[in-house]
């Protein structure tokens, strides 16, 4: 994460940042992060399947793992 072996000039570069204001790259990154979170919330609200439900067999098909394991007796 932090590289202590980096030169002092790099550290000084951080010191010379103009004032305690937020740099442009931080603002842009935050905007992108907010957009990503919003996109995730919207897809979640729209009911897009995600997570374990994605891996479950479709409901009503009756085609689940246990039915595969247990052979059906046929006349």
């Amino acid at each position: 994460l932090a590289d202590p072996t980096s030169s002092e000039t790099e550290h000084d570069g951080a010191k010379q940042a103009p004032g305690p204001g937020m740099p442009r790259w931080v603002k842009i990154s935050l905007v992108i992060a907010i957009l990503v979170v919003l996109a995730f919330v919207v897809t979640w609200l729209l009911g897009v399947q995600h997570g374990p439900s994605l891996h479950e067999p479709p409901q009503g098909s009756g085609d689940n793992v246990s039915s595969i394991e247990q052979p059906v007796d046929r006349p």
Partner: protein
């Protein structure tokens, strides 16, 4: 608390090994996922998923946790600090995010692999079409986005974009004042 130089170097080497290993393991996971997606052989698909589960739980998860922990120690044990520079803070937040998503996603992988294990090869071909179709979809989204996040963290760590937080500025100011006071004290004491 600042670590002594020898300990700092050891911690940095350890952190780099864990972090780079994490990236490599994710690429290996992606290769297995691609194999599962492209192969038409049931056994190959199943074997790829079993390999993905093993790689995930026994390589990626330990490396992620170790990378997160050593990164935290590196930040707190060096002059960089955890909350002083935006790039350190961003790296830590992104690493935490990637680790949490990984820990939430791996049980899903295990569910799929359990389904594949419980079905016999023949049953998977004949009756378990949905299992096979799920397995053939692979798992590119999570490892793909995870790899992108890890590479972003790597770029942040290498380039160290400038920018200090308010907390960092305050601490820096306090340290400068303390340094000036100690210098003034020395000049007064000297004859």
């Amino acid at each position: 608390v600042t670590m002594p130089p020898a300990l700092r170097k050891f911690a940095l080497a350890t952190h780099l090994a864990f972090s780079v290993g994490w990236i490599g393991a994710v690429i290996a996971y992606l290769a297995l996922s691609l194999a599962a997606m492209t192969s038409r052989e049931t056994q190959m698909v199943r074997a790829a998923w079993i390999g993905m589960e093993l790689t995930g739980w026994y390589v990626i998860v330990p490396l992620a946790l170790a990378s997160w922990l050593t990164g935290l120690l590196m930040a707190l044990g060096t002059k960089w600090g955890l909350f002083r520079h935006y790039w350190v803070l961003f790296s830590f937040v992104l690493t935490t995010f990637a680790t949490v998503i990984l820990l939430l996603h791996m049980p899903d992988v295990s569910v799929l692999v359990d389904m594949a294990r419980e079905t016999e090869g023949a049953a998977l071909d004949s009756g378990g079409e949905h299992v096979l179709s799920r397995l053939s979809q692979g798992d590119l989204l999570h490892p793909g986005l995870g790899l992108a996040v890890l590479l972003l963290i790597q770029v942040l760590n290498v380039y160290k974009p400038r920018g200090m937080t308010r907390y960092g500025w305050r601490k820096e100011h306090e340290q400068r004042r303390a340094l000036q006071r100690s210098k003034q004290g020395r000049t007064v004491l000297q004859p």
